[in-house]
């Protein structure tokens, strides 16, 4: 479908889609534990998602993020804890009674059904009147720009088109919450970017839809989510508003997983008066960073600076300047990725392409703004 046709289809469907949005419902995990054959996959997860919010759950493979989604969908039964959708405790309800829409990585379209029948499946299962089924199928297909493909079979569609149909199928039942389990992982990079924009647009059109988005891709999470939960080993490691979590990660794992932060070991000094800043020492160099929200234990901490906050500067700049040595320079088209060493610690910076990039082995002076640097506990993971 061309971009103009897609835009037109979206415009046609917008009013109807808004009118069709289901009442907003939040999600709640209250100390939910899931175990498989004695092995704990989800360890007392407590997490809540506000109505109409997009919550991304991220983490490495095996961290428990998909298990959390499956516990919410009703495909695994927690050994402890309660799961809530809206005000309703759904822990003991079967999946078909939970009023959820679900989109999975491999689309899971029914291969023997045409696109329209796939989208109508949930409505037929709920015994919706035929007139409503027809109009809702049209609306949802138009919403994802697939109205022209209603009579095709899934095998006649590309991966991106199949995923759009899967989204339309999930939305057709007007679910209280939408669960997305790595929905873009099977798509190539270009289509993934376009689908990410589509999902963001869909949520703007259905603002009351609560979305739980499971992914291992931090870019998807940062692009789409209002809030992010980071998991590891079945446990919740960090959770918060996306931009807050990115700028001010509470621990080392969150800092490294979300945005690959630079972490430099520093000694804490006295906090600045009324500035919200704190002085730290890296070797003999005094630096300033944002004061932590909570008092850090001990005199050691990790200075967390994002790669994009580091810049090359003149050697006579005094504030927050660090001497380093270039180890490697990579040109990646729209940016330069420079690997450095600062007082024995590795440090990475990214910047727009440089006309005259430094050569490996050359000494450089680095700078970062104090409000782009935060402190996290040195001993915590």
């Amino acid at each position: 479908m061309s971009g103009a046709a897609l835009a037109s289809a979206v415009d046609r469907s917008r009013t109807v889609a808004r009118a069709d949005a289901a009442p907003a419902s939040g999600i709640g995990f209250n100390r939910v534990t899931v175990a498989y054959k004695g092995s704990v996959a989800l360890d007392a997860l407590t997490l809540s998602v506000e109505p109409g919010e997009i919550m991304a759950v991220i983490g490495p493979s095996g961290c428990g993020k998909t298990t959390a989604l499956r516990a919410l969908a009703g495909f695994v039964r927690p050994v402890a804890g309660r799961v809530r959708i809206g005000e309703l405790d759904v822990t003991d309800l079967p999946p078909h009674a939970r009023d959820i829409g679900m989109v999975v990585q491999n689309y899971a379209l029914f291969p023997h059904m045409r696109v329209a029948d796939n989208v109508a499946f949930g409505l037929h299962a709920r015994r919706a009147p035929e007139a409503l089924v027809r109009s809702q199928v049209q609306t949802c297909l138009a919403m994802v720009g697939m109205a022209e493909y209603a009579e095709r079979y899934p095998r006649q569609l590309s991966g991106g088109q199949q995923q759009r149909v899967a989204i339309a199928r999930a939305l057709a039942i007007r679910p209280r919450v939408l669960l997305l389990d790595e929905p873009l992982s099977a798509l190539d990079a270009q289509i993934r970017r376009s689908m990410l924009a589509e999902l963001a647009r869909l949520h703007r059109e259905l603002p009351s839809l609560t979305v739980l988005y499971v992914t291992h891709d931090q870019t998807e999470a940062l692009t789409l989510a209002d809030r992010i939960a980071i998991m590891r080993g079945g446990k919740l490691m960090a959770e918060g508003l996306s931009h807050v979590l990115y700028r001010n990660p509470p621990n080392r794992f969150a800092a490294e997983f979300l945005g690959r932060a630079n972490l430099l070991p520093v000694q804490l000094e006295q906090p600045g008066l009324d500035t919200g800043l704190v002085s730290v020492r890296l070797g003999d160099t005094r630096l300033q960073a944002m004061a932590p929200r909570e008092k850090l234990p001990g005199a050691q901490a990790l200075l967390c600076v994002r790669p994009h906050a580091v810049t090359l500067t003149r050697s006579d700049v005094a504030d927050n300047a660090l001497a380093g040595t270039v180890r490697a320079v990579q040109w990646q088209g729209d940016l330069h990725n420079i690997e450095l060493e600062v007082m024995g610690s590795p440090l990475r910076m990214v910047c727009t392409p440089l006309r005259d990039p430094p050569q490996p082995g050359s000494p450089v002076t680095l700078h970062f703004p104090p409000d782009e640097a935060t402190l996290i506990p040195a001993d915590a993971e």
Binding site: A108, G122, R169
Partner: protein, 291 residues
């Protein structure tokens, strides 16, 4: 290298690839086509050894033949329907209702394929026969001397035994087919509000249809030709085509009639085999693990 030292070029070996067809052809001819040709020839020859195609009309017109044909088709259809129903249900349970020992049960069901068919009939005699376990227990319980269960020596006994023997032939392709269904499809269907019955009907059954059709036609083919079970159970008044061939040839020495019936049986089997191959070709039997 001097040219006089060069070795003479070897003549290219003759391509005898085509000749490899001869051994299997000779073997097939000797073991299958020649006996079959003899049967066909005998079927069109009268007792005086004279060509008499009218024999067909005479044999096919008898009520004995018509009854045997009817029973053959009746038993084959009923047994196949039972196999499909039981096989589908068992395969569903083994695949989608996991329980401890599920693999062992699947293997045990599979081993039935390796057993001779009359063995099941013999086992049925021990269990459901007049003096079998079930009747013995029931008679003791009721204090009577008349066996309350009297189905084994009827057409139902034959059908039940054939269902027991041939259900694994349906289950094998079905289990292979079920294993290819993505779990996520079933989960998504469930999340959309579909109950178990709707999922079976609208998701699992269409996906399993090729395996079901191919397995069903194989089952039909085998039950049409079943001899051991019918012979061993010896149900009253239940004569099938293979049994009639046996009766005419071995007991009455009426080889011409036996050969006519055998030819009809072969034609019926070939027609069913053609159906089986067509279904496999059309619905992807390879995917169903059949070929």
């Amino acid at each position: 290298m001097p040219s006089d030292l060069a070795l003479p070029a070897r003549a290219a070996p003759r391509d005898l690839g085509g000749a490899w067809i001869l051994p299997p052809l000779i073997l097939l001819g000797a073991l299958f086509f020649y006996p079959l040709a003899l049967i066909v020839a005998q079927s069109a020859t009268n007792s005086a050894g004279v060509f008499a195609p009218g024999t067909y009309a005479a044999v096919l017109g008898t009520s004995l033949f018509r009854n045997a044909l009817f029973h053959t088709v009746e038993i084959a259809l009923a047994a196949t329907a039972g196999c499909i129903l039981l096989g589908f249900t068992l395969a569903l349970i083994l695949t989608f209702v996991p329980f401890p020992g599920v693999r062992l049960v699947a293997r045990l069901i599979d081993t039935i394929i390796a057993l001779p068919t009359f063995l099941v009939a013999l086992a049925f005699t021990f269990i459901y026969g007049s003096a079998g376990l079930v009747n013995g227990a029931l008679m003791q319980l009721q204090g009577t001397h008349v066996p309350p269960l009297d189905f084994l020596y009827s057409i139902w006994g034959v059908i039940l035994a054939e269902i027991t023997v041939y259900t694994p032939f349906i289950m094998r392709p079905l289990l292979a087919s079920f294993s290819l269904i993505e779990t996520s499809q079933i989960e998504v269907a469930s999340s959309l509000g579909a109950g178990a019955w709707r999922i079976v009907r609208q998701i699992i059954l269409p996906a399993a249809m090729p395996a079901l059709l191919a397995g069903g036609s194989l089952c039909l083919l085998l039950t049409v030709n079943e001899f051991g079970i019918v012979f061993f159970i010896g149900a009253k008044g239940v004569v099938t085509l293979p049994l009639l061939v046996y009766d005419k040839a071995i007991q009455e020495f009426d080889y011409t009639t036996a050969c006519v019936i055998a030819v009809v049986n072969v034609v019926l089997s070939l027609a069913l085999y053609a159906l089986y191959r067509t279904l496999i070709g059309r619905f992807g039997g390879a995917r169903a693990g059949l070929v």
